[in-house]
Amino acid sequence: MKTFSQKEFQQIDEAKLQKYFKEWGVIAYGNSNKLSTKNNVAINMNDIFKGGAPRRP
């Protein structure tokens, strides 16, 4: 297993780090079906303020 020394860790490219965080995020939070059986309904408040009914569901 590869481990980083303090110096190597400081040299990690910030852009690469952001890319990894994005990948981890997509893996961790990309799919909600595992936890909830409800439909993912959200209301856009702009629709309410315009006076019309919400677009969804």
Binding site: Y20, F21, E23, V26, A42, N44, M45, I48
Partner: protein, 258 residues
Amino acid sequence: MKNKGKIILIVLITSALPAIATYLGSSYSIIDYFKQENYIGSAFNVDLFKNLCQLASIILSFSILLIQRLSSDIKLENSNNKINGLLELTKVVFQGAFSSAVDTNINIDIRIFVPIKKIINIKKNETLYFQIVNCEGLSTAGITNGLKFKVLPKDERQGLIGNCYNLHTTVYDDNLKQNNEQYNLTKFQLSKTRNQEFSIAHPLYNESNEIVAIITIDGTQKIDISEHESAIINNVLMFSEKLFLSVPDLFKPKRRLL
């Protein structure tokens, strides 16, 4: 196992020492016995010995309690720092997912709002407020301290929090600067939320289908949530439920006496 034994021994000794000193300071039976058996001579000053024992008992009790309190406070502080560090990492990873969903790098703040429950409700009114819980790892603390929104009665609801509570679903606004006036906010609330460009509020339920907390994800960058709605709401739902399950202590209601 060896550590456990050591801890038990230390606790036993530290608890027993002041008790022994108190006993020696108040009882004559042991001193009398030692005198009878000639272990101590007639020149031994019993009163002075008893006074010293009482003094030792007071000093020992005070020092042991002080050390234990300081030690547990330091340990608690260290644990809180670790939890905040982990929460910050969780936020960064969620921020990554959020940025990926909207195809742009974005900074977000995650805030938790919990109900203020009155222990004694004299007026029997149905007013309910949700107040912010600031977590260092999840958002910039300090700026929003004391922020709360009325959610009941329904026609007096304030902010996205009030709408989220009464509509029983996730609500969002990606045009906050323009719409802020429409949320029945006080000047204090407006001053705390003025910089926000978007906010998403997601309700969290208990087994009785009551809303026990609301998570908001907000930011100061202009984005079009409706364009990426499905992906963003999926992310928010997944993150909120995981956080709710993993750190339930963050979602405890605030108690007020009156």
